[in-house]
């Protein structure tokens, strides 16, 4: 059964062609984007083809040695690690976050904002302190182990810190709202009438979800995946703190070149541009996918 347009009727609005005045009003935004999104990326691209000449120094002779280095075995392994972590985080966020987003989206209107606030409030504290709180919870002599041991559920403490598990916990913790909010946005737009119709036609909850609700909220899911996966690939602070800095992620490698001991700016820039290109492709593919779904 193909998903039919089940959201509230979208008003297209009076979409006139842009007048002079319209362009003028848009100019500040355009200038901002040009100065602070386009040009920095261009600068990054330029540095990625410069030649490394010592700590933080470059000579402007074009060369691809930075790209060769950026695709060498060490960065490749780091990238693979980062992608694996990001993928796992994204999948977990979808599984954990979708039900919550659905519940909030279908809740009575006056409770929705409150619930969203409740989800957001923890993120007004500092990220690093939240992660350190997890250390207090997960460490060998921490709260979780203490509780489990005093209830005699385990005899030896669970070695959760430092560990890959702790990193996943920290990552999911940091990215969950970015999955919940977009999905909530889609859920909120669901047309009651359509779901009722499905139930009237005899669909049980599972089929309703599978055939109607999830496909209709797909734009939200896609948005959530983009908002989680891509930034997660570049995230390294959570891993540093919760894994004892034993692994190098692609974010570590890049940061080291610019603020740490590395100093090889072209190498860092090359890694950065490579990631950017991959993401632009992923984003472009996902927007094509979304369009094709819409057209069905």
């Amino acid at each position: 059964m193909t998903p039919i347009a089940g959201t509230k009727p979208e008003s297209k609005g009076p979409r006139r062609r842009a007048t002079r005045a319209a362009w003028l009003l848009l100019t500040p935004l355009l200038v901002w984007l040009l100065l602070f999104v386009v040009i920095p990326s261009v600068a990054l691209a330029f540095y990625s083809v410069a030649t490394y000449a010592g700590l933080g120094e470059v000579t402007w002779t074009p060369s691809f040695e930075a790209y060769q280095k950026a695709w060498d075995s060490v960065p490749r392994v780091a990238l693979w690690r980062s992608v694996y972590l990001a993928l796992g985080t994204t999948v977990l966020c979808v599984i954990i976050g979708y039900p919550v987003a659905y519940f909030i989206g279908r809740a009575p209107e006056r409770w929705r904002n409150l619930m969203l606030m409740l989800v957001m409030i923890p993120f007004w504290t500092s990220f690093i302190i939240r992660i350190y709180a997890w250390i207090i919870i997960l460490r060998n002599e921490g709260l979780l182990n203490g509780m489990l041991q005093s209830m005699n559920l385990i005899s030896d403490p669970l070695s959760l810190f430092p560990s890959q598990t702790a990193v996943f916990i920290g990552m999911v913790y940091s990215f969950l709202p970015f999955m919940i909010l977009p999905i909530y946005g889609s859920v909120e737009k669901l047309d009651n009438a359509l779901i009722e119709a499905a139930f009237d036609l005899g669909a049980g909850p599972v089929r309703a979800f599978q055939r109607i609700i999830v496909p209709l909220t797909q734009p939200g899911i896609v948005a959530g995946i983009l908002l989680v996966f891509i930034p997660a690939v570049g995230t390294y602070a959570v891993s540093d703190v919760l894994s004892g800095r034993r692994v190098e992620l692609i974010g570590n490698l890049i940061e080291t070149q610019f603020r740490g001991k590395g100093g090889n700016w072209p190498y860092g820039a090359a890694m950065g541009i490579s990631l950017l290109v991959m993401f632009v492709i992923a984003f472009w593919l996902s927007s094509i996918f979304a369009k094709s779904q819409q057209e069905q």
Partner: protein, 273 residues
């Protein structure tokens, strides 16, 4: 109007509610821990020898770790960023809604890019840009960077709200003699307010909590709280004052949220249909 549901669905709703509570507990567990530990008498956070207000006193009276200035900086930056982002995001969304521009697709991509690009890449790009342009004021650099990744969130939220806008609203206002920008302010903006507020809150949250990009743009006078906390937690290790400042921030947040909620209720306007 409540949804008519089969029995099974009711059960599912209960399960979803239960799951949401579990997730909320998960989200609040570290928060509760850090609030409780702000009263933990152990200066190293090991064990729980007793309860004390000493760390609160130390932070407010002595502030040996100099946390209050970065806190102030963060608040200032977040307020400015939120204001500008809300303006840019709202006007941008409205223009894109009203008019068909050429290269719209590319424009869309450009706007969405800062939302998803990994922070470390944005950070190094800004580092390269600002060092080549010779901009050495940390305030300017940080505010610009924050606005760049915050305003898309407002724009997207407002766009979403606009998609449900009744086009006749604007026409009606203008028929009654209002000029376009007056109609915009008096009629459209109130309608958009929930989206603007939610986008603004998102902006504020993102700016207050941002570490990685700010790591590349700050200077000593404009050091933000997250960066400072990161520095202390890594360089000096556990300090109870860190938990204190976080607790105070939560308190501030909750108060702000409650206030905006009440004020929002009191001044709620329904769109004229």
């Amino acid at each position: 109007m409540a949804l008519r549901m089969p029995q099974g669905m009711r059960l599912v709703n209960w399960l979803l509610g239960g799951w949401s509570i579990v997730v909320l507990l998960f989200l609040y567990l570290p928060i509760v821990v850090l609030i409780v530990y702000s009263f933990n008498a152990s200066p190293r956070g090991i064990g729980f020898p007793g309860v004390t207000l000493e760390w609160y006193r130390a932070l407010i009276q002595e502030d040996e770790l100099e946390l209050l200035v970065p806190l102030r900086n963060s608040l200032i930056i977040a307020v400015i960023v939120t204001f500008v982002s809300s303006l840019m995001g709202t006007i941008g969304a409205w223009l894109l809604y009203q008019y068909r521009y050429r290269f719209e697709r590319s424009l869309s991509t450009l706007i969405l890019t800062p939302m998803i690009v990994p922070e470390v890449i944005m950070g190094i790009s800004f580092l390269l840009l600002f060092s080549n342009l010779g901009v050495d004021n940390g305030w300017v650099r940080t505010i610009i960077a924050h606005i760049t990744f915050c305003f898309p969130f407002v724009l997207v939220a407002v766009q979403a709200r606009l998609s449900g806008l009744d086009p006749s609203l604007m026409e009606a206002a203008m028929d009654l003699g209002a000029r376009p920008h007056v109609a915009f302010i008096k009629v459209i903006v109130p309608y958009l307010l929930p989206a603007i507020v939610s986008g603004a809150l998102m902006s504020f949250t993102l700016s207050m909590d941002e570490v990685v990009v700010t790591w590349f743009t700050y200077d000593d006078s404009s050091q933000t709280l997250p960066v400072k906390l990161f520095g202390i937690a890594s360089r000096r290790g556990y300090r109870p004052e860190l938990n204190v400042v976080s607790t105070l921030l939560i308190l501030f947040t909750v108060v702000m949220v409650i206030l905006t909620h009440w004020i929002g209720r009191a001044t709620a306007t329904k769109p004229q249909n």
